[in-house]
């Protein structure tokens, strides 16, 4: 990605969780453009419109949950880079997320080191 602006879509129904994640990302990435989505449907629509470099998605969300949103995004863009961020880190949810096409999983409460590693390994 080099010095170019990184476009990051943050999908979470909690305004606080979005802020906490964005604040954490800003510790490790300098030039970022954030796109906020408050539910799974918004995340799908904004993905198609904005084509972000990476997506962070919560699972439990109103209107459309995170797993369904991943499936839809991947159908439209199989190369989409999506990381799930959820407190529901059960094996079943993990498997469902990966099968839907998510590339990584971060357990809430988020740990800055984990976010740092995710950014480092996916945004080269």
């Amino acid at each position: 990605m080099g010095k170019e602006n990184v476009k990051i879509l943050v999908g979470d129904d909690s305004i606080l969780a979005r802020k906490q994640l964005k604040d954490t990302i800003l510790k490790f990435e300098e030039s970022v453009e954030f796109i906020d989505a408050a539910n799974g449907q918004e995340a799908v629509d904004l993905y198609l419109k904005e084509k972000p470099n990476i997506v962070f998605l919560d699972i439990v969300m109103p209107i459309k949950d995170g797993i369904a949103a991943v499936s839809e995004i991947i159908q439209n863009d199989p190369s989409a880079l999506i990381v799930m961020v959820s407190s529901v880190g059960t094996q079943v949810q993990l498997k469902a997320a990966i099968e839907a096409g998510a590339k990584d999983f971060v357990q809430k409460p988020i740990n800055p080191d984990q976010i740092k590693n995710v950014l480092a390994s996916h945004l080269k």
Binding site: S14, I15, L16, P62, S86, S87, V88, T90, K108
Partner: protein, 293 residues
């Protein structure tokens, strides 16, 4: 966890009033455990011996241990043991209540013995009590209020008290659970869990309490009741229920589904039989845990 439930034990025995307890809880952070309290807890000294040494300390410029040794109230090896032993957290609460004149050392001695016997505590439970010990504690807490919990509900309550310690702070005391089928709400957030077990849980509090609760949860300073404060309440509940679903999956291979948390915008919340509300006192105010079966 033992300090929190020692507080509710004291309330259930009418040894203190909620106001006295809250005042003692707010002082905890600045209090250090005294040798006399520890000696009494270990059964090395009686309450009257401790009182006597404390009195003598006002006459002689000597340390507690020195006087206790001189009077043969303590042996050298006992003193050494006390100086290096780990203190259960509820002792500090008891001592704070003695220092504030709410109860006497003699009361504390009796109450400690009763509390330990009721909860089958080892002589000196460490501060990192294991899951099993806190489960017994919570079971007794509910039994004292004539509430029987299923294994899952017990795990649920154990986890929520642990999450309060972890994300909000350990300076709380839960009051006895109140069985009810309707509840008048303040600002109430609920979340439904479905699957092999179906539960709706919630947290409810007044707006100014919510501001303080959210400030602790988010580690930010909030001053007005805004969307971040509201989101903090939802996030705490959602985080807790998410961790519960992980526990259910690991312990029982049971998968539960979570609905998104929501603001429950009704003045009176109706619940089925078997539901209950637990008031939890923090220095900044009271929060209400709701478990609707």
């Amino acid at each position: 966890m033992f300090a929190q439930f020692f507080g509710s034990y004291l309330l259930s025995k009418n040894a203190v009033s909620p106001e006295q307890l809250t005042a003692a809880i707010t002082k905890l952070a600045d209090t250090h455990i005294k040798l006399g309290t520890l000696a009494m807890h270990k059964g090395y000294m009686t309450a009257s011996e401790v009182d006597e040494v404390c009195f003598l300390q006002t006459r002689e410029d000597k340390r507690f241990g020195e006087i206790a040794l001189e009077r043969n109230y303590l042996f050298e090896d006992q003193l050494e043991d006390l100086l290096k032993s780990q203190n259960p957290d509820y002792l500090l609460l008891g001592q704070t209540l003695v220092d504030s004149g709410v109860i006497s050392n003699t009361d504390l001695e009796t109450l400690m013995v009763g509390y330990q016997a009721e909860n089958k505590l080892e002589e000196a439970p460490s501060e990192d009590a294991n899951q099993e010990e806190t489960q017994t504690l919570i079971m007794n807490f509910f039994e004292a209020a004539d509430e029987q919990l299923s294994d899952e509900a017990l795990m649920y309550m154990n986890l929520i008290f642990n999450n309060l310690v972890r994300f909000i702070g350990e300076d709380f005391t839960p009051l006895a659970p109140v069985a009810c089928t309707s509840y008048d709400t303040n600002y109430c957030v609920t979340q439904s869990i479905s699957g092999p077990i179906n539960v709706t849980s919630g947290i409810d509090m007044e707006e100014d309490v919510a501001i303080a609760f959210a400030s602790r949860y988010a580690k930010m300073e909030f001053h007005v009741f805004d969307e971040y404060v509201k989101a903090s309440l939802e996030d705490f509940l959602n985080l807790h229920n998410g961790l519960f679903s992980v526990n259910m999956s690991n312990a029982y291979s049971t998968e539960v589904a979570l609905d998104p948390p929501m603001h429950n915008d009704v003045p009176t919340y109706k619940m089925d039989k078997g539901s209950f509300v637990i008031p939890v006192i923090y220095p900044f105010g009271t929060i209400y845990l709701i478990l609707a079966m």
